[in-house]
C-alpha cells in the first residue's frame, strides 16, 4: 500500500512543549483522523507537514518525497484548511481566489463555483465580513478546488453548524471515491471521525499513543461500567483509563476478557466510542499525575 503521508521519527521542541519522535503513515486513498486533547500536538504535526515550522529531528515524506527537498512539488498536491482561516481581511473573496488559483495547475474553477454556490458564499464580500463558519467554508472551497491529492484539515468542523458538518463529512466521503485523495483530519469532535475515518492516530502530550485502523481501535477498546465497590487496586490495573463518579465508574480497557473473568456480571461491558477512548485515556494521565 503506497503511503500518501509518512512521519518518520519527526520531532519538535518548543519552549514548554515537546513533540516526541512520531512515526506513522497514512496510506493513499484513506482518511486518517488525528485525535487528541487541546495542546496535544495535532497542529504541530500538521504545521510540520506544511513546512510552516521546522522539525528538530526525523523526516516527513509526502507521496514518497521528502517534504523539505520537494516542497513545491508536494505543496501543489496538498489542500489545507486551518482551524482558524486567516486571509487578508480587507479583500473580497473573489480576489482572494484570484490570488490563490494561479499557483495550482490543476485548479478547477467549475468546482470552486459549485462549492461557492453550495456553501452560499458571497464572493463580493470582504473576508472580515464573514462569520466564522463562512470563513471555514471559504477555506474549504479553496482547498477542495486545488485538485489536491492530500487534504490536511485542522479542526475544520469546530466552527461549523451540525447540518453543514454532516454535509462536509458526506462530501469528504464522496471525494475519496476516486481512491486517489487522502485526508488527514484533525479534530476533537470524534463523532465525525467514527463516520468517515479509516485510520485513527491518537496523540497525547506530544506523544503518539497509537495509530491504527479505526475498526481495530474500536474492536480493541471496550467500555466497562460498574459500581465503585468493584474497583480495587488489582482491578484498576486492568484499565487504560478510569472515570470515577458518585455512583460508579467507567473504565476503558483493552483486556475485556480478563475484565469479564475477574469482575463477571458485576460490570457491564460495551463497545467504546472514540470519544470514550480519548477522554478515558486522558483520565489515566490525570490519575498517574
Amino acid at each position: 500500500m503506497n503511503a500518501a503521508l509518512e512521519f518518520d521519527g519527526i520531532a519538535k521542541n518548543y519552549k514548554g512543549f515537546t513533540l516526541d519522535p512520531a512515526t506513522f503513515e497514512l496510506p493513499s486513498g484513506y482518511i486518517m483522523g488525528l485525535i487528541g486533547p487541546n495542546g496535544a500536538g495535532k497542529t504541530t504535526l500538521i504545521k510540520l507537514v506544511l513546512n510552516l515550522i521546522r522539525g528538530n529531528a526525523g523526516a516527513i515524506r509526502v507521496f514518497g518525497l521528502d517534504h523539505l527537498e520537494h516542497e513545491k512539488q508536494i505543496k501543489v498536491r496538498i489542500g489545507y484548511v486551518p482551524d482558524e482561516p486567516k486571509f487578508y481581511e480587507d479583500i473580497a473573496l473573489k480576489n482572494l481566489k484570484r490570488a490563490t488559483a494561479p499557483f495550482y495547475p490543476r485548479w478547477d474553477d467549475a468546482r470552486f463555483n459549485s462549492l461557492v454556490d453550495a456553501f452560499d458564499l458571497p464572493l463580493d464580500r470582504k473576508f472580515k465580513k464573514l462569520s466564522q463558519g463562512q470563513k471555514t467554508k471559504f477555506a474549504l472551497a479553496l482547498a477542495l478546488s486545488q485538485g489536491a491529492e492530500l487534504l490536511v484539515l485542522d479542526e475544520p468542523t469546530s466552527g461549523l453548524d451540525p447540518v453543514f458538518r454532516q454535509e462536509l463529512l458526506k462530501m469528504l466521503g464522496e471525494l475519496l471515491q476516486d481512491e486517489k485523495t487522502s485526508v488527514l483530519f484533525s479534530t476533537h469532535l470524534t463523532a465525525d471521525l467514527e463516520r468517515i475515518a479509516d485510520f485513527i492516530t491518537f496523540i497525547r502530550d506530544g506523544r503518539i499513543v497509537f495509530s491504527a485502523p479505526k475498526d481495530e481501535v474500536l474492536d480493541r477498546f471496550m467500555l466497562v461500567k460498574g459500581g465503585r465497590e468493584v474497583l480495587d487496586a488489582a482491578s484498576r490495573g486492568l484499565f487504560d483509563g478510569i472515570r470515577v463518579h458518585t455512583h460508579g465508574f467507567e473504565g476503558l480497557t483493552s483486556r475485556a476478557n480478563e475484565v469479564r473473568q475477574r469482575l463477571g456480571d458485576r460490570v457491564a461491558i460495551e463497545r467504546a466510542s472514540l470519544d470514550d477512548v480519548m477522554v478515558l485515556m486522558e483520565r489515566k494521565v490525570e490519575h498517574a499525575a
Partner: protein
C-alpha cells in the same frame, strides 16, 4: 513563479497602493510648489516612497495571513524576491509619477533637468537601497514588530552615536567633531574615488555596489524569513 507572485501582490495590495499614491501625489504637488531645491525634493520623495513601500508588507502581519502565503507551492526565497522587486517597482513608479507632476504642474519651482542628472539619481538609488537593506529584511521577517524594532533601534542608535560623538569631542578638548569628521571622510573617499576613476567607471562602480547591497539584503531577508515559524 515570479509573475504569479507579482500578480498576487497586486491583487492583495492594489487598493492600498492606490491610496498611498494618492496621498503621495498630493504631498508632491505641495512640495513641488514650495521647495526650492530639486535635489532635496527628489531625495525626500525617494525616502517617502521607500518607507511607504515597506509599510505595504506589514499588512500581511496585521492580518496574520503569512501562514496562508507560506502554504502556497512556492519557496520562501521566491516570496522575498518578489517583495524586493515590488518594493523597487513601487519606488520607481512613485518617483516616475512625481517627476511627471514636476513636468506638467504649472508653477513648479525648478526644471526637470535638475532631477535627471547622474549624481541626483545615484543619490536617490543609494538612499533607497540603504532603506530597503535595513527595513525590508526586518519587515518581511518580523512584520509590524520588525518595523517598530527598526524605528526604535534607529533612534537608540542615533542617540548613542550622538553621545559617543559628544564624549569623543569632550575628550579631544572640543578640537574635533568625530561624527562630522567620519561623514566628511566618507564623502572625501567618494570624491577621491570619483576623481581617480573616469566618470563612467565611477557610476558603474556605484551601481555595482548598490546592486550588491540589494542582493545581500535580499539574501539576508530570505535567510531570516526561512527560519520564521508560523
Amino acid at each position: 513563479m515570479l509573475p504569479k507572485l507579482l500578480y498576487r501582490e497586486w491583487i492583495l495590495h492594489r487598493q492600498v497602493v492606490m491610496l498611498m499614491f494618492a496621498i503621495f501625489g498630493a504631498y508632491q504637488i505641495y512640495a513641488l510648489l514650495n521647495m526650492d531645491s530639486a535635489r532635496a525634493w527628489i531625495v525626500f520623495a525617494a525616502l517617502y516612497s521607500a518607507f511607504l513601500t515597506a509599510a505595504l508588507f506589514i499588512r500581511e502581519d496585521k492580518f496574520r495571513a503569512t501562514g496562508w502565503t507560506c502554504i502556497l507551492p512556492i519557496k520562501r526565497i521566491e516570496l522575498v524576491r518578489a517583495r524586493f522587486i515590488v518594493s523597487w517597482a513601487m519606488v520607481v513608479a512613485a518617483l516616475g509619477g512625481a517627476t511627471l507632476l514636476a513636468v506638467v504642474l504649472p508653477g513648479t519651482k525648478f526644471p526637470v533637468s535638475e532631477i535627471f542628472n547622474t549624481s541626483t539619481l545615484l543619490i536617490v538609488a543609494a538612499l533607497t537601497t540603504l532603506i530597503f537593506a535595513w527595513i525590508l529584511p526586518f519587515s518581511i521577517r518580523f512584520g509590524m514588530v520588525g518595523i517598530m524594532v527598526f524605528l526604535v533601534g534607529a533612534q537608540i542608535g542615533g542617540v548613542l552615536l550622538l553621545l559617543v560623538g559628544q564624549r569623543m569631542n569632550r575628550a579631544s578638548g572640543g578640537a574635533g567633531r568625530p561624527i562630522r569628521t567620519a561623514l566628511a571622510a566618507i564623502s572625501d573617499t567618494l570624491v577621491s574615488a570619483r576623481d581617480a576613476l573616469s566618470p563612467t567607471l565611477f557610476v558603474i562602480v556605484v551601481i555595482v555596489v548598490l546592486v550588491a547591497t540589494n542582493w545581500l539584503a535580499y539574501r539576508f531577508a530570505a535567510f531570516l524569513f526561512d527560519r520564521r515559524e508560523l
